[in-house]
């Protein structure tokens, strides 16, 4: 319930404070440096290092398995 309420709140807040950007206005947004991730291998490696060396992980939606990392 908490997660659903929090998510709904975010949706409403975000929708309320934005205007519609038309397709022809999105040239900048399409630049590589505006992507959520623009170095796939580097992002994967950083995630794996932090996953194996820190006490918390997640939030990236990257699919992967565990490791016997010591």
């Amino acid at each position: 319930m908490f997660i659903r309420l929090a998510f709904l709140t975010l949706v409403l807040l975000t929708s309320a404070c934005t205007t519609t950007i038309q397709p022809w206005e999105r040239g900048i947004l399409a630049k590589p440096e505006m992507q959520w991730v623009n170095d796939g291998p580097g992002f994967s490696l950083s995630n794996h290092i932090h996953f194996s060396k820190e006490g918390s992980s997640g939030g990236t939606m990257v699919v992967g398995g565990g490791c016997g990392c010591n």
Binding site: V11, S15, M34, Q35, G42, E54, G59, N70
Partner: protein, 390 residues
């Protein structure tokens, strides 16, 4: 992924921006929700070097900690007009020593019991992914395997994305699962568990939103459940609960500054689990276009976590708690890291080099830490590689 020809990706396609907002195609996270039009081959070589343990903090064993050589290969390609496939392969060669436990030193501070320096191991990881792109929805499926001589993980994931609000908004949902098997070496000799299993299931929800012509935001919530053997068989007296429930909340923001010709990236993650670990992670990066062909990316990361409720700096006499671990990963600490990446685009190639320094210490924690775990890791990471688009 660093793409060599901006023009190819500057098509003012209706999807492009939001696509950019695709929280994520599992395993890739670099592709937009529109079907790609180029074949991309990527290679990276990385050298990961941990700082040696201090002599004064090691009770026994080697002070030489891990060095890892990593090679990554990736190929992604469109298939028809509405599908794409990708294949990732990674191989790591590890050598060095790792902490096996702690004990009280003469001054009452914890000291490390290290393994010998003879550990040498390989890990191989392969992942395949296929994505279908519809008018307003994309669907992806990913599967892979990670294998070591004493550990094997088989995993898969499926994700969906819906675009709405004239494609200014997108909602994502993803499910993934990993089934892991642990078969420790020298199990009988050292009294370790001989074979054990672990399962992880994760659900992520995401919402991305175009805020303006030059800014994007994304929110996400994650829920993950680990079950099975969650202890570390190589650590002395390590005994952890057989389940762990984890929650994450993330926010990502991108803003392009025309006058500076650069993009600011800001990412934040809140984490909490039922082992009582709470963490905060902040990432900043500045993607500066120095020229049409050269890009510099300075970055900074801050991380801080609290301790697990069964963590102790060392096992005190009379400790009857059924769970115990002195693993530095479960200790309270903070970490900072700074990096600089250089990208040079030349014809169909994009060459990249990156340097990163990571240091962890109790003084970086957002909460006061009384006793620092001597096993905390600090490392240097150097990466070189290229992308080839055709």
């Amino acid at each position: 992924m660093n793409l060599p020809d901006d023009k190819k990706y500057n098509k003012p396609s209706a999807l492009a921006a939001l696509t950019a907002s695709a929280l994520a195609l599992p395993a890739l996270q670099t592709q937009a929700a529109t079907a790609p039009v180029d074949n991309i081959v990527s290679y990276r070589y990385s050298s990961y070097m941990e700082d040696d343990a201090k002599d004064s903090e090691v009770a026994s064993g080697s002070t030489k900690r891990y060095d890892i050589d990593i090679q990554q290969f990736r190929i992604s390609a469109p298939v028809g007009k509405s599908f794409s496939v990708s294949f990732d392969a990674l191989t790591e060669k590890m050598s060095g020593a790792s902490p096996m436990g702690t004990q009280a030193g003469a001054d009452g501070q914890p000291q490390l019991v290290m393994s010998g320096a003879s550990i040498s191991e390989n890990r191989d990881d392969v992942t395949a992914s296929i994505t279908h792109y519809g008018e307003k929805m994309s669907t992806g499926f990913t599967a892979g395997q990670s294998s070591e001589n004493d550990y094997e993980a088989n995993y898969f994931g499926i994700d969906w994305e819906w675009e709405f609000n004239q494609k200014n908004s997108a909602f994502q949902i993803a499910y993934s699962q990993s089934d892991d098997e642990i078969t420790p070496t020298d199990a009988v000799l050292f009294g370790r568990v001989q074979r054990a299993n672990k399962e992880t299931q994760t659900i992520n929800l995401g919402l991305s939103q175009v805020l303006s012509k030059n800014s994007l935001i994304q929110y996400g919530l994650g829920f993950s459940e680990d079950s099975g053997y969650l202890s570390d068989p190589y650590k002395i007296d390590d005994a952890r609960p057989s389940s762990r429930t984890r929650y994450t909340a993330i926010m990502r923001y991108r803003h392009f500054y025309k006058e500076s010709n650069g993009a600011l990236h800001f990412d934040y993650r809140y984490y909490n689990d039922d082992w009582d670990i709470t963490s905060h992670t902040f990432n900043f990066a500045w993607h500066k276009n120095v020229s049409g062909k050269i890009q510099l990316i300075p970055s900074f990361r801050y991380y801080s976590q609290t301790e697990a409720n069964f963590y102790e700096p060392y096992k005190a006499a009379g400790n009857t708690n059924p769970y115990y671990s002195s693993d530095y990963r479960l200790s309270p600490y903070g970490a900072i890291s700074a990096g600089l990446q250089f990208i040079h685009k030349f014809k169909h190639f994009s060459y990249t080099a990156k340097f990163e320094r990571y240091e962890s210490d109790k003084k970086y924690s957002f909460e006061k830490v009384a006793v620092e775990n001597p096993g905390l890791v600090s490392y240097t990471l150097i990466t070189v590689g290229f992308d080839f688009i055709f």
